[in-house]
């Protein structure tokens, strides 16, 4: 497995290097990250009209173990996102965490 360095500015085709210390805090719109995330599961993009199942990527065919693993992964991701430096991501996180809790209660019962 090769790992090739790919900074955000180079991904965007910027010629000159950015200043040393102050970084971009997040990828700009239309960046390589956005392109990459187009292929990501529905869970990565929060739309207000989506059901908790759609937000969490839970399908009727999934086994209990798969659902559990998926919910754990999403909780870790969005719980961390709730502390992100990116305000937009922080905003999405709460909606996702609600959906994750609803899915847990639906499939594994209330606490």
């Amino acid at each position: 497995m090769f790992k090739i360095l790919k900074s955000l500015s180079k991904s965007l085709g910027g010629g000159k290097p950015a200043a040393e210390a102050p970084p971009p805090s997040k990828a700009k719109a239309g960046s390589l990250l956005d392109k990459v995330n187009k292929g990501a599961p529905a869970a990565a993009k929060v739309e207000p009209t989506q059901s908790p199942e759609e937000l969490c990527g839970i399908t009727p065919k999934m086994a209990k173990d798969e659902i559990k693993a998926q919910l754990k992964l999403l909780f870790r991701r969005y719980n961390r996102s709730a502390s992100s430096l990116d305000a937009k991501l922080r905003g999405e996180a709460d909606q996702m965490l609600d959906a994750i809790v609803q899915m847990r209660e639906k499939h594994f019962g209330e606490i």
Partner: protein, 496 residues
């Protein structure tokens, strides 16, 4: 002079403790005689004075009263405007810390250096803002320590226990879970996980919504029309919540400020627990996450320790008892043990093995030769929970022919998906021309005991290298000059 001082800068309550000559920590009361100080600031309109504590909480002018500023420590756009001056969260926090320093130093002696506690999941900006707040208040921060770590240090000290401990710290604004091994005075942190906006004030908000609903049902009117009245009702819901930790049922009467009549609020513990069930499910997720991070099962935990005012809620205790099959223990006074532990930490830090609070890495295009797939990923160099001090290296390849500048984005976060991590810095290295792509570049991160991270990039072919301190310098971080100016200004203020 107080040599070992710890401060719990909490969302709703703050406390200061110092280490007595006998080696035991003690809470130092403020000048109002309270052991803990409400983290509330009131800007008086008549006199040039800032009130901090219960006097501020009861001040009654919501436009001039600041609650729960800790929740905004990482928001560079959150500014509080009072009389035309814009205050940052760090400055508001500095007023709270100034009150603690001024009041407590009259009892325990001069306070110059402190350990301050922060939630386990505080990001770089929130940690920097906390340090800036302390500096503005005239104190040097010896160390920041995670709140559950401090609580665990106090628990281990006061109870003399040994074994594997899980600390469940549900405070006013955050939940933190830490797992650690204790053997005498030696403490080894295994993992710390935190959840933001999950604490007592969220439960108060949920109860407030229930009050509003019942009031509307009974009178047809809205329960409040302005912030002043909302605050009053919120205070009533907080009192009801506390009562429900002792009683099965609570009756309350509320009225709005429009003479729409009085409503009788009837609340049962069962109903309250139902209302907060979703939030408690989040706490279970976090405990499971901590166990997974430490690769442990519930049966591997010897003691479950409760910290924070919200652990007084009976459902919290029963939920954890059901999960672990053992009765959770209280850490003495659940509101004070973080500050007490911070004072102990100030002296014992060398005997406490901590871990990295977050993963550090870089963005890389990862090519899988087997599947021929290429994906931009967060490539982690130092994983979260690695014992510190530590140093780790990963080798990467350059992506283009004739690449003159190697750029390494420094990421903070555990997710493989680059969208879900923060890019907190960038390192650039000039390299010789006319080289093909695929030249090897070694990226090394090191993390020291003071939680300082350094990044080193070495171009293997040319031998050129560059090393920088990894530190977030984005929006919301004050320059040294600005910090000095604001410190000077703040120290001249009247703070009561």
């Amino acid at each position: 002079m107080a040599e070992y001082v710890g401060i719990d800068l909490g969302t709703t309550l703050s406390g200061l403790a110092y280490l007595k000559p006998d080696g035991n920590p003690e809470i130092v009361p403020n000048a109002d005689g309270e052991r803990l100080t409400h983290s509330v600031v009131f800007f008086d309109s008549h006199e040039d004075v800032k009130l901090v504590g219960s006097a501020a909480r009861d001040g009654g002018e919501p436009d001039r009263t600041i609650f729960q500023i800790k929740r905004f420590m990482d928001d560079p756009e959150h500014l509080v405007e009072i009389d035309g001056k814009k205050w940052t969260p760090a400055e508001i926090s500095a007023l709270i810390l100034s009150k603690l320093k001024r009041d407590c130093s009259k009892i325990c002696g001069d306070i110059t250096e402190v350990v301050i506690t922060v939630p386990a999941n505080f990001n770089e900006l929130a940690r920097k803002s906390t340090i800036a707040a302390a500096e503005m208040a005239g104190m040097k921060v010896k160390r920041l320590v995670n709140e559950p770590t401090a609580a665990a240090v106090y628990y281990a000290h006061s109870q003399g226990v040994k074994g594997r401990i899980l600390v469940f710290d549900l405070g006013g604004g955050t939940l933190d879970t830490t797992i650690l091994d204790v053997e005498g005075d030696n403490i080894k942190i295994l993992t710390s996980e935190g959840a933001r906006h999950l604490g007592g004030s969220n439960f108060d908000d949920i109860l407030l919504a229930a009050y509003e609903e019942q009031y509307k049902k009974q009178t047809g009117a809205a329960l409040y029309s302005d912030e002043r009245h909302r605050r009053r009702v919120l205070q009533a819901t907080e009192d009801a919540k506390k009562m429900l930790s002792k009683l099965q049922r609570v009756n309350d009467t509320v009225a709005n400020d429009q003479n729409s009549g009085i409503a009788r609020i009837d609340l049962s513990r069962e109903h309250f627990e139902k209302l907060i069930r979703h939030m408690l499910t989040r706490t279970v997720f976090l405990v499971e996450q901590a166990l997974d991070s430490a690769k442990l099962k519930t049966s591997d935990i010897d003691h479950v320790v409760l910290v924070g005012g919200s652990t007084r809620i009976p459902k919290v205790k029963s939920m954890l008892e059901k999960m672990f099959g053992k009765v959770p223990k209280s850490c003495g006074n659940v509101d004070e043990c973080v500050a007490l532990g911070a004072a102990l930490f100030a002296k014992k830090s060398s005997r406490i093995q901590e871990v990295c609070n977050a993963s550090y890495g870089t963005l890389a295009m990862v090519y899988n030769a087997k599947t021929k797939e290429e994906k931009l990923m967060n490539s982690i160099v130092i994983p979260k929970n690695t014992p510190i001090p530590c140093s780790r290296t990963q080798v990467y390849q350059t992506s283009e022919d004739n690449e003159r500048v190697i750029e390494v984005d420094i990421t903070q976060g555990e997710d493989e998906d680059a969208k879900f991590v923060d890019v907190i810095g960038r390192l650039t290295l000039d390299v010789p021309p006319n080289r093909p792509k695929g030249c090897e570049v070694a990226v090394t991160f090191s993390y020291d005991e003071n939680q300082r991270v350094r990044a080193l990039v070495v171009d293997k072919q040319s031998g050129r290298s560059k090393e920088v301190a990894v530190t977030y310098k984005g929006a919301g971080v004050l320059s040294d000059e600005e910090l000095k100016r604001r410190s000077h200004h703040l120290r001249a203020m009247r703070i009561e």
